[in-house]
């Protein structure tokens, strides 16, 4: 934390924060001037291309690049041999390296095996076709439950399940087991009047960002390097790329482009080390742009899951015990995905007896990446479905049952700690009072409701606030703007300085211009950088007060800062006219030089986040096509800095959840190849598919932020799978247990109900 900066919440009346000014990046984006990952070029730039495995699991016997290297126009061909292992025993870093370029084995359809840099795209494609890879095809497994069987094809002979005692003697695709909970679950179930146990499956979905991964890399012969890249975290990308390529962090300058969606998928390096290695070998800049097909086959899907949930209740709806076994795919490399599901599954509820067990399962699919509150939506789907089923069986209102069991201040969370002040209760009460809950439903329509939880976090953050010589302000931040943070941070700077929003211009600075910043993930962008912006502004104000004191020739302690002006205080100075930032900036050269405020801090204390969603759906009984009729999101934002952006986050999360719930899934053939690597066959919802998504923002201040701000980016994707499943189940009278609830699945469920 910056010395002397106190992040504690202080109630105040806001002037700029809470308003809805025009977004500063809007004109560039709608006129096509905004520069995304592929919109950057360097003199002498080559075109990079990656050869990908057509096999789900195979040993690489040999790669012959001779003919490709001889093709005129080809300037570099690389394989794993050009990316030597510099990871020094760091298993996580080695997995990144192996994922960027296969080393000895390919683990999924789309795994990179070689890359070329050529003078144009056609030559690059021709060169890829000339690379001969000799594969020994191995048995593969893509299904999470099948991969856990002892007879399943083994991805790694070196992986033994961790988290079990004693350590297993044989390797397994189950990379890790984790367990959370407290109390006596067996006693809790024994005390229940009703126990319901159900099994659920969710299919793998992709974040579905519109902009594919793209970068331009330039490694100079002297080792100085630059990378222009579409990313959620250019500082972290710099660190990881530098470690994998043996570069000095300070000599690799990374600039983040505009970002056409990330949602967690752009927190992982995929092609960037390959582009840098190609540039290093060719001694020329290299642009590498992924195709949509490559994005689907080789980046960022969430886990496919298989989840068992069991909940016991008293007749009045009080939960006596709850348990869940959660099995999540990780792709070929272990991740924290099932563990996050195990931590979040029952986080909305006050439970005396609870146990969750997570299993990280390795399969022949691309490496799982974070996707907006990673792992929580699938767990919420399973838990919230059983809550609804229990309420129906007991004949009590499902919303009242949730209110009865909701966690509150002092509740021990299912993942361990005791909650401080939290917002699940207020979102449920708001839902109960919302007109949506009492609106009539038509034929073939059903209403569903669900809650969701996400942790939120902060992290390392650095900002610089520079006062221009005309008194206007530049704010340089290091968290990538994925959802409007340049606007919200400008509002915060304006608020703190006491000047109009239009006098502040925020940019995302490159990695050479600021100290390290963690990713924009964990809903931390506005939470963290607003804290650093407030700190920077206060530091700049302290300097401006001192400068005004010099201009007036009075003691600095007699100068206050009010409404964007230095104001002289005290009986002897009261006649002095206040000085604006413009007045002080105009004299800066003679009062000490440039004026700036900096801040370097760790933003912690983000505070957990809850949401409640209500969904009305209509299901065509003949075709099983579902149509969302009405959708309402209720979420606590702490303080909505730019409410339109907050609403956009809530609507965006709900929309992605709707797509995941109803349509989106990775479809693998028996050969382990992805069958639908494109938006024609992997259909995401578009505006014409959806009603206006209504939002209700609650503002319960976060005690650990000066303005009470909480992150809002992720929680909105947690309840939709469950809310929609409950709505479909209420519309059809059939409990849906498999996501996505595509028409064939709903039809099959309806047929089963009819006894066909």
């Amino acid at each position: 934390m910056t010395m002397g900066f106190d992040p504690t919440y202080t109630a105040r009346t806001f002037t700029s924060v809470g308003t809805r000014p025009v977004r500063p990046d809007g004109v560039d984006k709608v006129t096509g001037r905004a520069r995304y990952g592929a919109d950057y070029n360097l003199a002498g730039q080559l075109v990079g291309a990656i050869l990908r495995s057509p096999h789900a699991h195979a040993r690489i016997r040999n790669i012959d690049t001779t003919k490709a290297e001889m093709l005129p126009g080809v300037k570099a061909v690389i394989t794993a041999a050009d990316l030597p292992d510099l990871t020094n025993g760091n298993a996580g870093l080695f997995d990144m390296l192996d994922n960027c370029m296969a080393r000895g084995k390919v683990f999924y359809d789309g795994h990179a095996v070689a890359a070329v840099a050529a003078v144009d795209a056609q030559t690059a494609r021709e060169a890829l076709a000339l690379i001969v890879v000799d594969y020994e095809i191995l048995p593969h497994v893509t299904d999470v439950d099948a991969a856990m069987q002892p007879s399943a094809p083994l991805l790694h002979a070196t992986v033994f399940t961790s988290g079990v005692d004693p350590k297993p003697a044989t390797p397994s695709n189950i990379a890790n087991r984790s367990q959370y909970g407290h109390g006596d679950v067996d006693a809790g179930f024994a005390a229940a009047d009703l126990v319901i146990a159900r099994s659920f499956k969710t299919e793998q979905s992709h974040q579905g960002y519109i902009e594919p991964h793209a970068c331009v890399a330039n490694v100079n012969p002297d080792g100085s390097s630059e990378l222009w890249v579409c990313t959620q975290g250019h500082f972290v990308f710099r660190q990881q790329c530098a470690e994998l390529l043996g570069l000095d962090v300070s000599r690799l300058r990374v600039t983040s482009s505009e970002i056409g969606g990330g949602f967690g998928g752009k927190t992982h390096i995929w092609a960037e080390p390959v582009a840098l290695a190609l540039s290093r070998k060719a001694a020329r800049p290299v642009k590498l742009v992924m195709s949509r097909e490559a994005v689907f086959r080789a980046t960022g899907p969430t886990s496919a899951t298989s989840i068992d949930v069991k909940i016991g209740v008293k007749k009045d709806g009080t939960i006596t015990a709850a348990s869940a076994d959660l099995r999540y795919t990780c792709g070929p490399y272990v991740g924290p995905w099932a563990e996050l599901g195990a931590m979040t599954a029952f986080a909305c509820y006050a439970l005396e007896n609870v146990r969750t067990i997570g299993y990280e399962v390795l399969v022949n699919r691309p490496k799982t990446a974070a996707y907006r509150a990673p792992s929580a939506p699938m767990a919420a789907f399973a838990v919230e479905s059983v809550i609804d089923e229990i309420a129906a069986k007991l004949g009590i209102n499902a919303l009242d049952m949730r209110i009865k069991n909701a966690a509150k201040q002092g509740t021990r969370a299912s993942y361990g700690p005791v909650y401080g002040p939290i917002g699940i209760g207020p979102t449920l009460e708001a839902a109960k009072n919302h007109p949506h809950m009492s609106a009539p439903l038509g034929k073939n329509q059903g209403r569903g409701l669900a809650c969701g939880f996400w942790f939120n976090f902060g992290g390392q953050t650095c900002t610089s606030l520079n006062i221009g010589i005309d008194g206007t302000v530049n704010l340089a931040v290091g968290t990538v703007d994925v959802g409007g943070s340049r606007a919200s941070l400008s509002l915060v700077a304006a608020e703190e300085l006491g000047i109009p929003y239009g006098q502040v211009t925020a940019i995302v600075a490159d990695t050479a211009s600021l100290g390290h910043n963690d990713m924009t993930d964990g809903s931390r962008g506005t939470f963290s950088s607003s804290m650093a912006t407030i700190s920077s502004a206060r530091n700049a104000i302290a300097i401006m007060r001192a400068r005004a004191a010099k201009m007036w020739d009075i003691p600095a302690e007699n100068v206050a800062w009010e409404n964007g002006h230095a104001v002289a205080k005290g009986d002897t100075h009261g006649h002095l006219a206040p000085l604006s930032i413009k007045d002080i900036a105009a004299k800066a050269s003679t009062t000490g030089g440039p004026i700036a405020g900096h801040s370097e801090l760790v933003a912690d204390g983000a505070g957990v986040s809850f949401a409640t969603h209500i969904c009305d759906i209509e299901v065509d009984p003949e075709t099983a096509l579902s149509r969302i009729i009405r959708y309402t999101v209720i979420q606590d934002a702490g303080k909505a800095v730019h409410p339109a952006y907050v609403e956009g986050q809530l609507q965006g999360g709900a929309t992605q959840g709707i797509g995941w719930a109803l349509n989106e899934e990775y479809v693998y053939g028996a050969d382990g190849r992805l069958q639908n690597a494109g938006y024609l066959d992997y259909r995401v919802p578009v505006s014409s598919d959806l009603p206006m998504i209504d939002t209700q923002i609650l503002e319960i201040p976060n005690p650990n932020h000066p303005y009470g701000i909480r992150g809002v980016g992720e929680t909105s994707i947690v309840p939709p799978l469950a809310a929609i499943a409950n709505a479909v189940s209420n519309a059809t009278g059939t409990r849906m247990t498999h996501i996505p609830m595509s028409p064939p699945r709903i039809l099959a469920a309806l047929d089963a109900q009819k006894g066909h």
Partner: protein, 81 residues
């Protein structure tokens, strides 16, 4: 003296204890003492450990004080999207 509650994987590294008492003034001091006491702690710390103090999760503020009587819970470091 503060009582520390450990999540499952950490319990394996500390010989199975769910709760341990440590005389630590802040998170840095706590981690230093745990590393000294339990050899299995350091690899887990390298992978990332978060500290919940009265329900608020801290990932990097190692200077955060551990107030007497506070509920302190060690968790794995979280990933987000």
């Amino acid at each position: 003296m503060v009582e520390i509650t450990l999540w499952g994987a950490l319990r394996d590294a500390t010989g199975g204890a769910e709760k341990i008492d440590v005389d630590a003034k802040d998170i840095r001091d706590l981690f230093r003492q745990l590393a000294d006491r339990y050899p299995g702690f350091t690899p887990l710390a390298d992978r990332g450990i978060a500290v919940s103090i009265d329900g608020v999760i801290y990932r990097d503020t190692w200077s955060r004080e551990l107030p007497p009587g506070a509920e302190i819970f060690l968790l794995p470091r979280l990933a987000g999207g």
